[in-house]
């Protein structure tokens, strides 16, 4: 059977599985729709969080980026995992105790203000919309690479599948499909990683092969010979300060992303929230510790197979030929000596390698069976769809719950609330699909900044809301607005208006850290200059700090 048939078969099977789970998990009440009835076991929530978190970018592009950046790629590895420690220690247990449905719920109640609620809604919508557009685009790209359908068709197929289980099942349907999607994506990632590790080192465990074989040493030597810096040499692309700030911004941003935070509302109690953060990171770490190993092996393998080889021989390699057609890998014998050479200078280098090819081409480079190629396609789709569905729920609940129910119509019945929720998910899917088919030019650039904006807005407001009773409405709103505006100003200025990165050369990716610090300072100072929060709010904070009483009444569980 050909790789293409296997791809169609495995993608179709995985989609049927998601549809089946969505049908089985359909819900009628608002608690089921927004927080899966708070009945998700901790390990299942860990797997769902991991799938929710790991997007098309983590699955397809991250290993390739690291492969290109070497040590400096660590900003993504540490940045996108370290935030879970902040989440587990500072946010998740208390938000679970709070027990309401969304992040703006917490901000609005803790800061006793619908203005604060609205600011949080706008920030959540902005962050989630930019992020979801990238996911739907990812779905289209996977379809077009593996099945040669055009991107729009791919996006529409993805929209139909996501719409089915999220409209019917809300958070419950999303949760259980995410658990299945985690299974698909991790198997699809680990098989090629283990295979290439085994081929190069004789050890099939990528992490062990990376640590104990001599591949990193060999790659360092090759890089030096070709005129690159050593692969493991820090700060080849970014200054130390910028690496520090960018890593922190990604960490704090991760902890502040609404679609990740809401996953911790769905577990039965505070204790489960703590453990499920651990499970989530363990499941994420399986992929995130394999990725740098894969990045190293694939780079070593690509350079040693291609560099200084006669161009006629290279073109006889099946995979080289195939990927050259997609233009992700290009050869150009510029000096006409019949051989192709890789050099650090773009103008003389005769090989260009698109980062995305590292994950996508590994099964072929490692000569794996054709079904593995199909599995990688299914895995990439699982990664994109699971993240998209989590984001769609945040978008829907921001409008249906935070604006419609909490502000416009607090007397809405259960049926009305779930109905509006379903409509909003449906609309959000259409909107996301539209952006997936017609990506606004700025999306790709903006997605990375969702983190900076989340770091500069939500994180300080939530942490201080729990750990500092004196923080009040005035302080929180001032902090969020000033933190957000500063970060936005710097990012937009540097990215779109050619402003110099005047603040110690910190890149726009890292500026969220500064925005966060500004937010913290403004919030603390303004809070001390204005009246303390009402007694009832102070008691609410006191209550958040005690884990007891978050459990559902027993009859609701059964």
């Amino acid at each position: 059977m050909s790789a293409e048939l296997w791809t169609i078969l495995l993608v179709a099977l995985s989609f049927l599985l998601y549809l089946y789970i969505g049908w089985r998990s359909r819900v009628k009440d608002s608690s089921g729709f927004y927080v899966a009835g708070q009945g998700v076991p901790q390990i299942a929530n860990g797997a769902a969080t991991a799938a929710d978190w790991m997007s098309a970018a983590s699955f397809i592009s991250m290993a390739g980026l690291i492969s290109t950046l070497g040590y400096d790629g660590s900003i993504y590895l540490m940045g996108w995992t370290g935030g879970y420690v902040l989440l587990a220690l500072l946010l998740a247990p208390y938000l679970r105790k709070f027990g309401k449905y969304t992040v703006p719920d917490f901000v609005g109640d803790r800061y006793y203000s619908n203005a604060a609620r609205l600011v949080a809604v706008v920030a959540a919508l902005f962050v989630s919309l930019t992020y979801v557009a990238g996911q739907m685009r990812g779905v289209g790209i996977v379809f077009s690479r593996f099945l040669q359908v055009d991107i729009s068709t791919g996006v529409i197929i993805g929209m139909v599948v996501v719409a089915f289980f999220s409209v019917l099942g809300g958070m419950k349907g999303i949760t259980w499909t995410q658990v299945a999607q985690y299974g698909v994506l991790i198997v699809a990632y680990l098989i090629p990683a283990a295979a290439i590790a085994y081929i190069l080192t004789g050890n099939p465990v990528p992490q062990l092969a990376f640590t104990f074989s001599d591949i990193v040493g060999k790659l360092n030597q090759i890089q030096l010979d070709l005129g690159f810096k050593e692969y493991s040499q820090p700060f080849a692309n970014r200054s130390m300060l910028d690496v520090l700030f960018t890593t922190l911004a990604l960490m704090v941003g991760t902890a502040g992303l609404p679609h990740v935070i809401v996953r911790f509302y769905t577990v039965p109690n505070v204790r489960a929230a703590r453990y499920s953060a651990g499970w989530a990171l363990l499941f994420i770490a399986l992929l995130y510790t394999s990725a740098p190993a894969l990045a190293t092996f694939a780079r070593y393998n690509l350079i040693s197979t291609l560099h200084n080889q006669p161009i006629t021989e290279v073109r006889q390699l099946d995979w080289a030929n195939k990927w050259e057609k997609t233009k992700l890998l290009t050869f150009d014998d510029k000096n006409n000596d019949g051989r192709i050479e890789l050099t650090p200078d773009k103008n003389t280098s005769e090989i260009t390698i698109d980062p995305d090819i590292i994950v996508l081409s590994t099964p072929e480079v490692a000569r794996l069976a054709p079904w593995v190629i199909g599995l990688v396609a299914a895995g990439g789709l699982a990664a994109a769809l699971s993240t998209a569905s989590g984001l769609l729920l945040v978008i829907s609940s921001s409008v249906a719950h935070d604006i419609y129910y909490r502000i416009i119509n607090p007397n809405a019945s259960e049926t009305q609330r779930v109905f509006v929720g379903r409509i909003m998910v449906g609309l959000a899917v259409v909107l996301a699909g539209y952006f997936g088919i017609n990506p606004p030019g700025f999306v790709a650039q903006v997605v990375a900044f969702a983190f900076g904006l989340a770091a500069a807005s939500f994180f300080p407001a939530i942490v201080l809301g729990i750990f500092d009773k004196r923080t009040n409405r005035e302080g929180a709103i001032a902090g969020i607005i000033i933190g957000l505006l500063f970060t936005l100003f710097y990012i937009v200025g540097v990215k779109f208006y050619g402003m110099q990165p005047w603040l110690f050369g910190i890149s726009p990716e890292g500026i969220g850290t500064v925005g966060m610090v500004i937010n913290f300072i403004v919030t603390l100072v303004v809070s001390r200059l204005t009246p303390p929060p009402p007694i009832a709010v102070q008691e609410m904070v006191e209550d958040l700090r005690s884990p007891a009483g978050a459990e559902l009444p027993t009859e609701a569980v059964h």
Binding site: L77, M78, V85, S232, Q233, R271, L281, Y288, R545
Partner: protein, 84 residues
């Protein structure tokens, strides 16, 4: 009385959080970034240590930190009677 117990529980919790976050910062920000260059002179297996910390060690430490927190909080919950 109940108030005192609640406050003692919260102090123990924040102390635990502080200690774990110090480890978090040391491992990721200090060892993996600020000291990455000098640590690269040391090898772990055949891999420079600073590089290994940034791409493997820090992530593994993060996982352990969260489980240590959950486990220690179980103990605190029992000690202060926060759960049945």
């Amino acid at each position: 009385m109940d108030r005192d117990r609640q406050e003692a529980y919260w102090r123990a919790n924040t102390a635990l959080i502080r200690n774990l976050l110090i480890v978090w910062g040391l491992v990721s920000l200090v060892f993996s970034i600020l000291l990455a260059q000098p640590l690269n002179a040391i090898r772990l297996g055949s891999v420079p240590l600073g590089f290994w910390m940034a791409q493997q060690g820090s992530i593994l430490t993060f996982v352990v930190l969260i489980f240590v927190y959950a486990f220690q909080m179980d103990k605190l919950d029992r000690k202060y009677g926060m759960r049945k």
